[in-house]
Chain length 416, copies 2
């Protein structure tokens, strides 16, 4: 069960002008499940993406990078679950290219206008002939209101489909931003998440679109962790069709702030949904680190806490074993950190119950801290750990979840 | 149950001339358990240590560093379990100093000749008056053959006591090296482990003793990980009494190689015992990374594998989900790693059953690899992952364990 998250209803996912989605059963790894998704874009659409830094990056990631480098338009995404097509060598690359070629022939575009994405088991070969055989059914299913179905079709160990949508009026224009994501484990994105796709019918210049994709990833998918494992397939792509007629070609455009906010907002909802649905998660934890010398060191501290199995199991147990948080701050790698200057607060969303309590200062337990206050806050499903490093002005936020029996169960069983 | 490890019998732990050990019940955190240990050394003994790099280091670690910096001799260690005396500010420092003063008065030495060690819960104050009240009973218990009892008295979440001992004849001399360690969780030492103490009746010059402590830590306690959490209290101390009459004052000494090997051997046994008894461990995993450009990058890769919850849960499940190992290699942080040059083998100790199989090369699954071979090896309780990075001559080894339901259970319950 995800923590305070439910898939939006189909009608809450606004169609994006110029975008149609179709799903099909291709039998990639298991039968009787929709494991193939095609997202088609009107001519003139552009895309920009950020991808995993994993050196064993999947074949489709390599092909995506090649196709996006060409600066031609993008007409379709083809997404399969079941097999990640990662650590599959030359054969894997050929499979990803064959996928693009087959989709391009069906959709009457060039192969370089198709981006391939895969998610699932690593080190196994993609049954590309079955994928290609499934494409006509996905094409036949293409419709503007199939966002909900597509969000379901890209799931693997996810327990809920993840989607978000906003319709924005800016001046005389209206534009829409709708996106979907998937991921629950192997989540510690570095330049993106497992899979995230956000489309808008606004139009953007190539440079601005690339900047928007990066800016949105940096404050959304690059701020989450479930288990610290950076996937081989992490991909986040923003597609702009321009079909709404609302063009944004520079940061001076009057529509830029609203468009930027909407894309970032949708990306953050999608990224947080992945943590809320983190494998075995029972709690959603926000780690805010402030007063650091650099944003990088704030992220280091936030991730040290977000990755610590000891901190995560204490959250699972609702045990205010806060020494584990201090230990993680201490080993995060800030060589000259003065522990006496660090302050730590624990909070929840229940303002009536006291909101936030100071846990630690002067290198130890805060004089005002009472164990029962910590214990009360730890009962909540939404907890914020706020840290003041006492060294500067920088800050960073990371979202994570707890570590439960079910995490072990899910990952010990995943391939069976 | 630890993986292929049992505490040596009391008679297998050789007394070290000049060393006596005593334990007592001080009621530090719980009643009716021996939670206080004193180890006394003959006049003229020297000590050297390596300690945690955690910036929230415990008060006793700070005091140990001060006392060892003085270059006076060391006459005693005082070790308590239950409370770590970490993140306890000035009050914690005073408690550690009071402990040394009280022990010094009893043992008729200077406070700076006493080293204090604590392990247990962080962020809670040490009941120093109870500790001091327990010292006379520990003193009354001092005996040369109490290594076994001391190994038991320093345990926390350990399921077995950890000890190792060697008696070495070098030329006309005989010397003894005996040590104990504790630790099962919050194990990712950085310059030492939770607690490890090794004593020898050989004599060493201060510089050589310090070098030996560092060299031994680097190939033992600094090569293990259970959960990636570097403790606030990690301490590894080597004590040389000189009481055997065997003096080693330079690397040119004929006894140096045998003494160095014995201390390193004991330290490795003690460090591996911690992993074998890792919280919830069912498998002992050796990760050997070779052909790297630097030892540091080999360690990065080995630790990425050793820390990955996905890899560790796959080992728990005996599932040869080897793509997770490749993913961990890929995100370990070697920016210019060529995945096509990486080779990965999986092996166990059963030479008759085929020993080691090549799993991956050329960026994907090895042509010769059969899933049933991987599945067979994964059944073993002792598994070796060997990686060739194809970039140079450096190598590094890390020992770790798997990640089971019991890890979560132990750490979700620890304070209750």
């Amino acid at each position: 069960m995800p923590v305070n998250y439910a898939t939006p209803a189909p009608e809450a996912l606004f169609p994006v002008a110029g975008v149609r989605l179709g799903t099909a059963e291709a039998g990639i790894r298991k039968l009787n499940r929709r494991d193939l998704t095609v997202i088609e874009f009107a001519p003139g659409s552009r895309a920009a993406g950020v991808f995993t830094q994993n050196r064993f990056c999947a074949a489709p990631v390599t092909v995506c990078r090649e196709h996006l480098a060409g600066d031609s338009g993008i007409r379709a995404l083809v997404i399969n679950t079941g097999i990640a097509n990662a650590a599959t060598g030359e054969q894997g690359l050929q499979a990803a290219r064959d996928t693009c070629a087959a989709a391009a022939e069906l959709l009457d575009c060039a192969p370089r206008e198709v981006l391939p994405f895969s998610t699932g088991v690593i080190l196994e070969h993609l049954p590309v002939e079955r994928l290609i055989a499934g494409l006509p059914a996905a094409q036949a299913d293409l419709a503007a209101d199939h966002w909900h179905a597509a969000a379901h079709a890209i799931m693997t160990t996810d327990t809920v489909a993840k989607a978000a949508s906003r319709r924005v009026t800016s001046g005389n224009f209206q534009f829409t931003v709708t996106g979907i994501s998937k991921g629950a484990g192997m989540i510690r994105p570095n330049m993106a998440t497992m899979l995230g796709f956000v489309a808008t019918d606004a139009g953007l210049s190539p440079a601005l679109l690339q900047q928007l994709a990066k800016d949105a990833a940096d404050v959304s998918f690059n701020c989450i962790t479930v288990d610290g494992d950076t996937s081989t397939n992490d991909s986040f792509v923003v597609i702009a069709t321009g079909a709404s007629g609302c063009m944004v070609d520079s940061e001076a455009s009057p529509h830029w702030p609203a468009l930027r906010d909407a894309v970032i907002g949708v990306a953050q909802e999608l990224a947080q949904a992945i943590v809320r649905d983190g494998e075995g998660a029972t709690k959603f934890i926000t780690v805010k680190v402030g007063a650091g010398a650099t944003a990088a060191e704030c992220r280091q501290v936030a991730y040290a806490i977000g990755h610590s199995p000891l901190v995560k199991t204490a959250f699972f147990a609702s045990d205010p074993n806060l020494g584990r948080i201090l230990a993680a701050i201490g080993y995060a790698g800030i060589a000259d950190l003065d522990s006496a200057g660090v302050r730590v607060w624990l909070g929840n969303n229940d303002k009536n119950a006291g909101g936030e309590v100071l846990v630690s200062e002067h290198g130890g337990r805060a004089a005002s801290y009472r164990e029962e206050d910590g214990a009360r806050i730890m009962q909540d499903a939404e907890i914020t750990v706020r840290i003041d490093l006492g060294r500067g002005q920088a800050q960073a936020t990371v979202w994570t979840c707890d570590f439960s029996y079910d995490y072990v169960k899910i990952n010990a069983d995943y391939r069976s």
